[in-house]
Amino acid sequence: MTEPSDGELIAVSRRDPQRFGLVFERHHADIHAYLRRRLGPEEADDLAAETFVRAFRARHRYDPERPSAKPWLFGIATNILRRHWRRERRQLRAYARTGIDPVISASDEIEDRVDASDAGPTLAGALASLPRGEREVLLLRAWAGLTDSEIAEVLGIRLGTVHSRLSRARRRMREAIGASGKEGEDSTSAKGAGEARRGREWTSSSS
């Protein structure tokens, strides 16, 4: 027996609101994980909850012919995140400066406190330097795993705009990481004064 699509569930939930709970069960983990990587576990709890409450209240505006609600939910989450973009940028800059990620430090799970990448501060600085629109596109691709057309749907922009933003964002990231790598060859210090200087260089060009 085929499981109902998100669109079908949402259509039914207009008359039987409890059915929206299945949409929550399908997508909460993904939305939470994305928000957690963006802002940290505590914020993610609240913002993920807000995402689904907002979605529930707006479900009558959802086109039931769209089978997957994932882009729609990420769109709501992205709108909510816009309230927090300054905070996110501050966190990224702090990470780049100090080598300590405030998002991971806030985690209550030990394994999360270890970043998977030694290049964390470098990446944080590069991310902080990206214009907001480019950062959204890049992170929706890298962290949410959305396709280009889904990203276009989430952000309400054209597919061509997604392509161009993604291309620019990747180029800036490459340049930042490359510059960092070259600098690293000349320095034995992975973190510290060199990191702090790079952080300032990145943030000075941020939007």
Partner: protein, 280 residues
């Protein structure tokens, strides 16, 4: 390793949220669901239509309908072309053809319509249903309408949510059927009709699903009954727009009676109800 691969490991090791975190978010959603369920006025009030009087039904909504947009709004259709993300779940309603639109050019043509759901305490789906309770079936013209006001509690009004009903004056143009011994009906009568729903200060027409929007200047075939000392519309699901010499049900009207009367002239409508009465 390219930049996307590097990013995928950035802040990696994100484990799924534990049960406590999931439950917290789920509790917030459940509260929203419960809030909607308990505030759904027309569906939750068994008296909404139990006496078969639309004014009573609307009156009930008035009492409880503070958060009307979120509450009595199981479906919402945007009549604006090019808004594919706003869709109704009703399968046989590809476009908005509410009678209100035919009689209201201009700005109202792009006004959103919010459909409310309500319990009906007795059937209104056939001519036989109508003649079993109505005193008359008349052709009326909606001659005038005035807003009754925002009936939401002040806290919800402040938040831009509420329901605005209308007092509509109907002019009786013609009687199509009458019960034997029915009280005379001429001139005009007033009724409370749905008006608009406010949601975040945005105004949308509010219509009970299965009934037409009452547009000033338009004509309707309407069952009425004399009750509590006054004539009142009866059976909102059995009120049909009449235009260009034929009954033209609104797009949400799909009862057997709506199908039977669709396209009929007034003479033919009269025969339908007369036949139904004689066969009882």
């Amino acid at each position: 390793m390219d930049e996307l691969e590097q990013l995928s490991g950035f802040r990696g090791h994100v484990s799924p949220p534990d049960a406590a975190r999931v439950n917290k978010a789920r509790a917030a959603l459940d509260r929203a669901i419960e809030q909607e369920r308990t505030r759904r006025p027309l569906a939750s009030l068994p008296g909404g239509f139990t006496k078969g009087r639309l004014p009573l039904a609307v009156g009930a909504a008035v009492v409880a309908c503070g958060a009307a947009a979120a509450v009595v709004v199981p479906s919402l259709r945007d009549s604006t072309a090019g808004a594919p993300s706003v869709r109704d779940s009703a399968p046989a309603a590809p476009s908005l053809r509410d009678s209100s639109d035919s009689g209201s050019a201009g700005a109202s043509g792009t006004e959103r319509i919010v459909y409310g759901e309500g319990l009906v305490a007795f059937p209104q789906e056939t001519a036989s249903n109508v003649v079993s309770r109505a005193d008359r079936v008349v052709l009326v013209t909606a001659a005038a309408a005035t807003e009754i006001g925002d009936n939401a509690p002040s806290s919800q009004s402040a938040a831009g949510d509420g329901l605005i009903n209308r007092k509509v004056t109907f002019r009786v143009d013609r009687t199509l059927w009458q019960r034997a011994g029915a009280k005379a009906l001429t001139g005009r009568f007033n009724a409370v009709e749905t008006g608009w729903v406010l949601n975040n200060f945005r105004r949308s027409r509010f219509v009970l699903r299965g009934s037409p929007w009452i547009q000033v200047g338009s004509q309707y075939v309407m069952p009425v009954a004399f009750d509590d000392g006054a004539w009142q519309p009866l059976m909102p699901l059995a009120v049909f727009p009449y235009a260009s010499g034929a009954v033209s049900p609104a797009n949400t009207q799909d009862t057997p009676l709506a199908q039977r009367l669709s396209g009929k002239s007034l003479g033919e409508v009269a025969v339908v109800f007369a036949d139904a009465a004689s066969s009882r």
